[in-house]
């Protein structure tokens, strides 16, 4: 009767054992890494909107302040996407024939809201409040990136909880004079650490990490 197993089977056995072990360790590890990739966070992915609205043009060429359109950002949890009415404040006069703006006019005259696609989506149990951040000197750019350089807006930050906590535990890095919040190019003077701490004190920043700060 021929032997059932040959020496090579030992190697086979050892390899398979190794594979099992490696898999057990590797798969979770891989998932953890994946969860941190920009892809998994939905970053670096310009979102197409019903209207080809170009932030570059409006903020830089026209120099319109963020708060002209997102005008509840400093008094409400929501920055609010502008009402159609607001677009027409200008576009009733300029580009009022442009085909690009057709949807806007349609929305206004047929009283149909424009349905924008959300770029920054927090889970519904996260209660983020724009007003307090803006009023304490967290710049738009800190979370939304260089919107003034985006043709179509894309998600610039991971929005993971640990990312939020980073700043809530050490806010200094992202605090600036309140009047500079919408400035996309602002840089702290001198040693950022120092300046940040000083500014935070000046703005009376008191970040909290209690759960109910964001989850209610």
């Amino acid at each position: 009767m021929p032997p059932l197993f040959r020496p090579r089977h030992n190697t086979l056995a050892q390899i398979s054992l190794f594979v099992v072990a490696a898999g057990a360790a590797g798969v979770p590890l891989g998932l953890m890494l994946y969860a941190r990739t920009p892809y998994a966070r939905g970053m670096q992915n310009p979102i197409e909107q019903p209207i080809q609205f170009d932030h570059r043009h409006h903020t830089r060429d026209e120099g319109i302040d963020c708060r002209y359109c997102h005008n509840t950002v400093d008094r409400s949890p929501a920055a609010s996407v502008p009402q159609t009415q607001l677009c027409l404040n200008c576009h009733a006069q300029i580009w009022d024939k442009s085909p690009i703006l057709e949807p806007v006019r349609e929305s206004f005259f047929q009283n149909k809201p424009i349905k924008w696609t959300r770029v920054y989506q927090l889970p519904e149990f996260v209660y983020f409040n724009h007003s307090i951040h803006v009023n304490k000197g967290v710049g738009c750019v800190s979370c939304h990136g260089r919107v003034d350089q985006m043709a179509a807006v894309e998600k610039a930050t991971p929005l993971t909880m640990s990312w939020c906590l980073e700043c809530h535990r050490r806010p200094e890095a992202n605090i600036r004079p309140v009047e500079e919040v919408t400035n996309m190019e602002w840089q702290p003077q001198g040693d950022p650490e120092e300046a940040g701490r000083a500014q935070a004190a000046k703005n009376n920043v008191a970040t909290r990490t209690s759960c109910t700060t964001c989850h209610r």
Partner: protein, 470 residues
């Protein structure tokens, strides 16, 4: 050279560990013990298997329903947040204790009589722990979350589980216990698997058993490594016997609920676990030895010893009950007092309490008598009663304590639903299914060790053939 007195049937003489050891050779033992593996499945086996499978079916259905609808399908409410789920968990974990105790501790104590029953008990340990593990998983109604939050890993949330919580400790305790028991059991199997490989007829069986045997060829080196690693694992798992149920008991002991908040729980739980574990082994062993023809290796001697252990652990448990009540009175805590002397004894669930007292305190006392200790039917019924009693004990701890705690305005009664009941019945089904499969494909007795024992008894005239001393 046979020792003739081995076959003497004098009631004053203790019974042998291997009946008719003289007549036996390694071969006969091999054949007799492997026979039930090679023998095709009989009608009886299929009948039992059918029953077990149908119960298993109920388990699948009730689990799916629970996960689909939520815990609302159970009888739980506020205040009774835990009920059958946790009772069954603790009950099964307890049952899972006999195996390790027998294999590890008795091994370290060189108790020869363990050899014929350890395989059996270890298998039951595994299956019991599997049944137990089901409940922590489903009792949140959303297991995908349990897995997601309970295990500590660097998540993108930047926060960790709560290591202060006994439930988190459970995760580690139980999973460790399961892993070690599995290894221990498998290691013990290896030589027998090799024996099966060598005696198997078809190529397929040979291949399968061969792979499982992991190339064990019985060379001196193999034996040496087998031996020391076996002892090593025994050493590893010994503390687990104590740790697992200790930690499980913390789930209750660390809380503030009258009836839970007590320091005696760890030892009392461990004793209870061994108690119920042996009872369960007994319940299955008695039919098994009869139907698998193992009477010559699983002798009255074994059964009697097990009964003695049950008697002892039963006393532990009774002492536990006694102390609970004593402390409740002595501490002067009105809530504790109310819990033990009113709610449990006279409350709406007093039936359960008194059943527990009867089964766990009264019943084991019969084992004082040699006559009953050695009577198969008596010990079999007793073992079943003890299983029931231990389940009632957990019911008392979990539900009776919860349903009436501090503020009377939020007392509620508890009523199990069909899901609760079929979950419980279902796990029994799962257990039986696994167990029957085990009996079908793996030698129920550690053949190697029996052979070894025979050699010891036969070759060493000084050796007490009965293995009383040591």
């Amino acid at each position: 050279m046979a020792a003739p007195q081995l076959d003497v049937r004098d009631p004053l003489e203790p019974v042998a560990l291997i009946e008719g050891a003289a007549g036996h050779t390694d071969k006969t033992i091999n054949d007799s013990l492997l026979a039930h593996v090679w023998r095709g499945a009989g009608k009886g086996w299929w009948a039992c298997f059918a029953v077990a499978l149908s119960l298993l079916g109920m388990l699948v259905i009730s689990i799916s329903w629970t996960l689909y609808k939520g815990i609302g399908t159970w009888g739980n409410n506020i205040p009774v947040g835990w009920a059958f789920g946790i009772i069954n968990f603790v009950w099964w974990i307890g049952i899972g204790h006999a195996g390790t105790l027998i294999s590890a501790i008795l091994l370290l104590f060189q108790q020869k009589w363990r050899t014929s029953i350890n395989r059996f008990a270890e298998a039951m340990t595994l299956f019991a722990v599997i049944c137990a593990l089901l409940f922590p998983l489903i009792h949140t109604g959303r297991p995908w979350f349990a897995a997601y939050w309970l295990l500590p890993y660097p998540s993108t949330n930047g926060i960790w589980p709560q290591f202060k919580s006994p439930l988190t400790w459970d995760v580690f305790a139980v999973s460790t216990y399961f892993t070690i028991s599995l290894l221990f059991w498998f290691l013990g199997l290896v030589p027998d698997l090799a024996a099966l490989r060598d005696s198997s007829q078809s190529k397929m069986k040979r291949t399968i058993y061969g792979m499982l045997a992991m190339g064990f060829r019985g060379s001196g080196r193999h034996w040496a490594e087998y031996k020391w690693s076996y002892v090593l694992l025994a050493g590893l798992s010994t503390p687990l016997v104590l740790s697992v149920h200790t930690i499980v008991s913390f789930d209750f002991a660390t809380s503030v609920i009258p009836g839970w908040h007590t320091t005696i729980f760890p030892p009392y739980f461990v004793a209870g676990a061994v108690f119920s574990g042996f009872a369960m082994v007994m319940t299955w062993m008695i039919p098994a030895r009869r139907f698998l023809g193992l009477k010559h290796v699983v002798t009255m001697k074994h059964l009697e010893n097990m009964n003695k252990i049950m008697l002892v652990t039963g006393m532990f448990v009774s002492y536990g009950y006694l102390m609970e009540h004593f402390i409740a009175w002595y501490s002067g805590d009105p809530y504790e007092f109310a819990q033990f002397f009113y709610t449990r004894m006279r409350g709406p669930m007093k039936g359960i309490y008194w059943t527990m007292i009867f089964c766990n305190v009264i019943v084991p006392q019969i084992f004082w008598s040699k006559r009953w200790r050695t009577s198969i039917p008596v010990m079999w019924f007793a073992s079943i009663l003890i299983n029931v009693g231990m389940w009632c004990e957990r019911y008392n701890i979990v539900i009776t304590s919860l349903h009436r705690d501090f503020i009377p305005s939020k007392w509620e009664n508890y009523m199990p639903t069909w899901v609760d009941i079929s979950l419980f019945a279902g796990t029994i089904g799962l257990f039986s299914t696994l167990f029957l499969l085990f009996l079908k494909f793996i030698p129920a007795v550690a053949v190697t060790e029996v052979k070894e024992l025979r050699h010891e008894l036969a070759h060493d005239p000084t050796a007490d053939p009965v293995g009383e001393t040591h």
